[in-house]
Symmetry: C2
Subunit: 340 residues, 2 copies
């Protein structure tokens, strides 16, 4: 049965690299959203806990509930959190309307738009927001922004970073004037963290924990991808040169030989290779995935009982003109995970 193997030592190595950018009293918070970027929410939560992580970020309440006993602080980025959810699960608030309706007992983090113009409250509405927070006696845990230029760096990143700092200053002032407790702040994702030193605030480490970074920072090369994907053989056929394989006979034997089918396909989240795909997609040891990939299997000229699809998805990401995140998050949550 196909498996995603997780290298716990590589994960530890990545966390150590990240921690070097934080002040000695700070430890990173891990982003576990989208099934831990496809790596398995429960498996990665267990590893994170073993490595001393106390704060995590997940996609929504459903993910939060799966790991409710594992962390001190669990923030669900999207959607509402139910009244009866444990108190260590925090909701994210992006609008004034939500501030008017959220339960006063639910801890929450306020997202503020620092220029990415995607999610978050407009900074102009901060004063109004804190009036509501004070009036309704809401349980504000944190305030955060998300820099849309962490990977690219440059002027735009600096502009969003500066705006984040202004937001922080304004929040501190508002809390002081309204006699509210000071929330935590977090601005930096993986890329942002690597660009800084001695960071005092909590940082949200996502993709770097899993061994990747989509920026040109020299530290990227020191990160170690933690997941390798493996498929098992279903069966083999001895075929003659020219014999056809798969739907529409799109795969053709280049010589006499043995072709085998393996138990992963596009229904497991792989991109569907077909005869119009440019180039040859190769497995980790060079086996060519023949077009057309099926929903539950692919064929290749190999007799191996088990084949490694990748140990590092960057090659596949380049092949499909995308980023490692997409290859990883698309992996079916039903692929078995094993931590080594």
């Amino acid at each position: 049965m196909a498996e995603l193997l997780i290298n716990s030592q590589a994960f530890k190595h990545n966390l150590n690299l990240i921690s070097k950018h934080l002040s000695p009293t700070q430890s990173p918070a891990l982003v576990l959203k989208d099934n831990a970027y496809g790596h398995g929410l429960k498996e990665m939560a267990g590893l994170a806990r073993e490595n001393g992580i106390e704060s995590v970020f997940v996609k929504n309440e459903s993910e939060a509930l799966q790991i409710k006993n594992t962390f001190k602080h669990i923030t669900a980025f999207y959607g509402n959190v139910s009244e009866d959810a444990p108190s260590n699960i925090y909701q994210c608030v992006q609008t004034l309307q939500t501030l008017q309706t959220i339960s006063p007992i639910r801890g929450f983090e306020l997202e503020v738009n620092c220029g990415m113009n995607r999610n978050g409250l407009s900074p102009q509405n901060l004063k109004e927001a804190f009036k509501i927070i004070a009036k309704r006696d809401l349980r504000l845990i944190g305030v955060f922004t998300h820099n849309g230029f962490g990977d690219e760096g440059g002027e735009e990143m600096d502009r969003q970073e500066n705006l984040s700092k202004e937001i922080q200053a304004q929040v501190l002032e508002l809390c002081s004037s309204l006699a509210l407790p000071t929330p935590r702040f977090h601005f930096h994702n993986s890329s942002g963290t690597f660009r800084k030193k001695n960071i005092e605030e909590i940082v949200r480490v996502g993709i770097a924990g899993y061994g990747y970074l989509c920026s040109s920072h020299p530290l990227c090369e020191e990160l170690k991808p933690i997941a390798s994907l493996w498929a098992d053989k279903i069966c083999s056929h001895s075929l003659k040169k020219g014999e056809k394989i798969g739907y529409g006979g799109a795969g053709v034997m280049p010589c006499d030989g043995v072709v085998s089918s393996y138990d992963l396909g596009y229904g497991d989240g792989l991109f569907r290779i077909h005869e119009h795909t440019h180039g040859k997609l190769l497995c980790d040891e060079g086996e060519h995935i023949l077009p057309r990939m099926s929903m539950d299997c692919f064929s290749t000229l190999s007799e191996k009982e088990r084949i490694c699809l990748f140990r590092d998805v960057r090659g596949w990401a380049r092949f499909f003109d995308t980023i490692p995140y997409e290859i990883l998050t698309k992996l079916s949550p039903f692929i078995k995970k094993r931590v080594l």
Copy 2:
């Protein structure tokens, strides 16, 4: 919260269209594999049962166990089935080795290669297989083939169909000579079914049940897609012409207006739209999904509280140079389903 809405009347309509090709005593078997092609295994199993379906096909034991009480016959296409699994769950066998090891109490279906050269026993090994079945007193439920040219039709399809019939004849002869009970046979998938009339054998209806078919058969136009995908607004921003949105500022406001983020992204299984993607990907009512799509949300120039991404995925399939199956099976199983 984003939802996949399932139209139960459209599903019934598709089943009726399919049933017209079967002999009056036969009812279709439904393929529910890969989370019912992304539509939700449990939801579609419930609908299938309501429509009188008794035999289904799933990906593996894990899927089979989720619907173990819903059907008389559940065949798991891939992997082994545990000793203690209920007896209505059948394993598929593709090799002589598995015949040597499978438990005599486990019902199984034998897949035979009719020329697709993907999965299944070679027809040359049928005699040997039946010797093992007789000797080990194995519980053979069915024998099946899979035609690799169902969509394309033509000579190759006929050749694989003829080989399937030869396999059936040979199996009948072997059962007779070895005094084994006659198994069921199934050869036809959705495309194959639409090409025939008054089919006596069980047929494995997959994609057609969900409203699609990747062939040029005129009946394709009569099928009705059963799923529509909906996302809910996270928040809105009033922006000026030229202001940037999302990662790398890749989305740019074409005019003054309101941009909103919606709660589906490539981490939910959508293909990641970015600035190098050719063309504009549109939602069902024409809203342009701005590059770059995020992992958990996308942005578009709309203020709607809820937006329909698609009611028919064929447009998206063409856009991404793939087939409806891939768009559908990649939808995260965690997207909420609602049957209407």
